[in-house]
Symmetry: C2
Subunit: 575 residues, 2 copies
């Protein structure tokens, strides 16, 4: 829905006033529309485009060097009048004649036609190139509507005019561009006129309208919504089916957003469109993915192809500099692909350090411990979720499972000769990347810190070293999370665990026994705490705590150290 306006009836004029203020350094307003400032070169044939408003960047957004010389701006979805077209053309004319170009709609045809007659009567040679790219609108090419193919035709003529072509040539190339251009669009939602509450048409929820127009004309039929891959297939296959006879193997492409469809969605769709075009044998030249011809707040997109022969290709590739569309070869020409050395350096994965025998032995324990942790988290996932749902959003079990699963998967890819310190570092990185949320970051960073502390060069890993590593683990969480004991976070289980571990190991107890006793302490402590659960990316400050008993984060800490205790005990019994 359109939200920003004063008097809806004045929307088109009001938005144009803002546009003219914004781009006063390159265009000026004249009666009926916009005219680009002239360059300092020779006079050019004036390409004057236009139609109703509501299609930005069409039409005034593509006025400037390399594109159109003027744009006639009608009311929303309404043809400008003949007087408007006449006035803009008169101001845009540089003495070499005028080409009017617009999509094939009755009102535009009449009004630009009247204006052309009037200009000719005054001795200004004026031609008309009508755009007819929409393959869904009619079988007969000359009866088709113009949609995003407007852009390819305007661009071809603007580029031809910029390089000095005469009126006959600009007109001829415009007609050639139109003859080489095909589009098909789909709508997900209708569009709504400023000040109106109801859309001009609607698409049933869960469907898409195939073959929509850009003025609120509904599609030719509604089909169930498709996954991106199938939508890409539909668009590509249908446009290719309408390829011009004898079409060359290169295409310029536009994947055009109609209004409320996001760039990210178009990129996602392009991911499927591009390979399908290449699989069909086409070389894609300078594709454009974004909004070029829109329809107010319509949801949807269209695919336009312009088949490029040797004449059209340089026009499509040419520079242009307009308010909404800017293309300059120079900055890209200065770029270079990275050298092999740079790539090697930049992308180098830090390789595992050589590991001592003891570190390789430690790796076995770490792998077993990670497997046991995954097992216990998996079997407690829903319980952790239920606990979390008391004070949080119930996804603690899911997040922990994603983290430990990513960790064990990464560890599974490592060779047999790595040390336990390296295994822990890799597990931590994988956990942090995949688990999401603050707890994912904290668990990941803490595992990495533990791994770095243990290292892979020691001759032995006595209980005191492991205990100091556990303290490092806890300190990392404290420092990154900014919480302390008593803040009702997982620290309320972790810190008693570490303290008990330190006390027992300091008193000479063996690691397995000390760890088991400390794990019991942690499990008990977990019963009376609440988790630290801000969601990353949201604005809730880290200091904000939820309150609830028992706490999910502390509970999972208890489960994890208990599972590790079992591994340590079992390994001790085996040795």
């Amino acid at each position: 829905m359109t939200r920003i306006f004063d008097d809806p009836a004045e929307f088109a004029d009001d938005q144009l006033a803002g546009f003219l203020d914004l781009y006063a350094d390159r265009v000026r307003g004249v009666h009926g529309g916009v005219v680009a400032h002239r360059g300092d070169g020779a006079p050019q044939v004036a390409v004057v485009i236009g139609g109703g408003s509501g299609h930005y960047p069409a039409f005034c957004g593509t006025v400037g060097p390399g594109m159109a010389h003027g744009a006639v701006v009608g009311n929303i979805f309404t043809s400008p009048s003949a007087a408007q077209a006449y006035s803009v053309a008169k101001a845009a004319d540089q003495g070499r004649g005028v080409v009017f170009s617009f999509g094939n709609y009755a009102g535009d045809t009449i009004n630009f036609g009247i204006a052309a007659d009037r200009l000719r009567a005054e001795g200004i040679d004026t031609r008309i190139v009508v755009v007819t790219d929409d393959v869904a609108s009619a079988e007969e090419e000359s009866r088709r509507r113009g949609i995003a193919g407007d852009f390819t035709v305007f661009k071809a003529m603007g580029a031809a005019a910029a390089r000095g072509a005469d009126l006959d040539e600009v007109e001829r190339l415009g007609r050639a561009a139109n003859a080489a251009t095909r589009s098909l669009g789909v709508a997900f939602t209708g569009c709504t006129m400023p000040g109106e509450d109801e859309p001009l048409f609607s698409v049933p929820e869960g469907h898409l309208g195939l073959g929509l127009g850009i003025h609120g004309e509904p599609g030719i039929r509604d089909v169930p919504m498709l996954p991106a891959r199938e939508l890409a297939e539909l668009l590509v296959d249908d446009v290719l089916k309408h390829a011009p006879a004898g079409a060359p193997g290169r295409v310029g492409a536009i994947l055009n957003g109609l209004g409320t469809t996001k760039y990210e969605e178009l990129f996602l769709l392009w991911r499927h469109v591009a390979p399908r075009l290449r699989d069909a044998g086409y070389e894609i030249v300078d594709p454009e993915v974004g909004e070029l011809v829109t329809s107010l707040d319509m949801g949807g997109c269209s695919l336009t192809l312009m088949w490029l022969d040797d004449e059209l290709e340089p026009l499509w590739r040419a520079d242009a500099y307009t308010p909404a569309y800017r293309k300059t070869a120079a900055p890209l020409a200065a770029l270079r692909e990275p050298t092999a050395d740079e790539l090697a350096e930049a992308d180098a994965v830090v390789t595992a350090p050589a590991a001592s025998d003891a570190a390789r032995g430690l790796a076995g324990t770490v792998r077993a411990a990670l497997a046991a942790v995954e097992s216990t988290i998996r079997s407690h996932e829903h319980e952790l979720g239920r606990i979390d749902a008391v004070a949080g959003d119930g996804d603690h079990g899911r997040g922990m499972l994603k983290g430990i699963t990513a960790a064990t998967a990464r560890v599974g890819e490592l060779g047999d000769d790595v040390g336990g310190g390296w295994v822990l570092q890799q597990a931590g990185q994988a956990w942090a990347e995949r688990a999401g949320g603050t707890s994912g970051v904290l668990w990941g960073a803490a595992l990495e810190a533990l791994g770095r502390h243990l290292g892979d060069t020691a001759a032995t890993y006595p209980a005191a070293t492991v205990t100091a590593g556990a303290r490092e683990f806890a300190t990392t969480i404290q420092q990154l999370g900014g919480a302390q004991a008593g803040d009702k976070t997982l620290l309320d289980a972790l810190l008693p665990f570490v303290e008990e571990l330190e006390r027992r190991v300091g008193g000479g107890e063996g690691l397995a026994a000390a760890w088991t006793a400390a794990a019991a302490t942690a499990t008990t402590a977990a019963g009376a705490t609440a988790d630290l659960r801000p969601r990353i990316g949201r604005a809730r400050p880290l200091a904000e705590k939820s309150v609830g008993t028992p706490d999910a984060g502390a509970t999972s800490l208890g489960l994890i150290v208990t599972a590790v205790a079992d591994v340590l005990t079992s390994q001790k019994e085996q040795t």
Copy 2:
């Protein structure tokens, strides 16, 4: 709502794959994000930006010459991991150090912080510049969130790096840019995660959320929706209230769309924002109106100002060439304002020709006739609407009234010495411009044709001349509309009128009497026709006719010729 995706959980990765395919000539994908190809100049400090996905063009859309050297791409609205940030920075580093920059969110702070530590440990000097522009998010500057001010800070650092500044200098300028930047945003609608049906928050219909965040954080309070002018005042005044101490009198400005807000709406808002800033004494430097930092499909916008001192201004003005943001001074430098001669020629209003006495006399009759037509259309507006609603959309009376009102207003501006032919031509142009729809075009063009036929040089205007003008009027409508007698259009009343007029005038009858009789014929004929009522801009072909009795277009034709008959009769009686 997000519509295009395959597996919603893979949305961020999938869209990145499409982005990388599209811009393979200028960026490459690395683990965790995107790195720009290097230029052929000296190595630069690497500006590495990032955050969650869903904000395009932030963040990968602003990677390229003059802006960032790399972008870390997290999941939707989720901080990228430390390993991702590390990996992108490692690939972007050119040996002169790295500046990480991102909006102030807990997860980003933690993850980029960990990555910076890791890079420093490897000998890569790494700095962090956090963006805190959102004045609504906290009183204390350092606690504020980063929203569209991300862009000004990234741009300042990218420009500084591009001109060769060292790491200290890039960091210092980034902090200066952040200290000079303030933003305030409003939301009209919430945003929805891919695959979800419900938005993350919602704004009550008819309201706007003031001080929104860009991750689905609702605004700080909902206020009733404002007209554009008041919305502009709110944004400008509140941002200015938070101006940095000792701020200079020049500002860079961004009026940023958040997702589904259209360019036209932003232009309309800019129309009010710009003068209010100027009234406050500010010079606006290179304003940007469009989408720079979005939030999925959120409706809304934000205003960002960067106060420009002599150090920041050239950075803000500098060239950049990225996928989504391109600025090049050269094409504009080549433009020139039109000369006075060109302006005079282009904008010259064709002046009224010298009028004969008879033509001036005719002008009086035409003015009286137009006034009578306006009066009769005004008093029948609703009746014509009701008739039209049977087969059309009920706006015929409204459209006709807009046309004749515009015509009489234009005529009222003309001097007393113009001829009747000129008055009719001006009336026709005004009618066509303001009435809209095909009937507006036809009435306007037909009046113009009549005016041209009559001209302003004749010594007398006998009945035969006026009758031939009426035929010209009808022929114009036939040719432009492509309809014929019997097609159930206004021609079904107009053609009988002209034929009867021709018959009677040909038989020697006086104009007033002949016209009056012909008007009666037209009114009778109008009772059994249907109008030609396609709406311009819609795809309905001109040949498509609605069926209904009586017809609105023919009815209004009958009313109009009857009103004119009364004027002719009254004038005849006066002479």
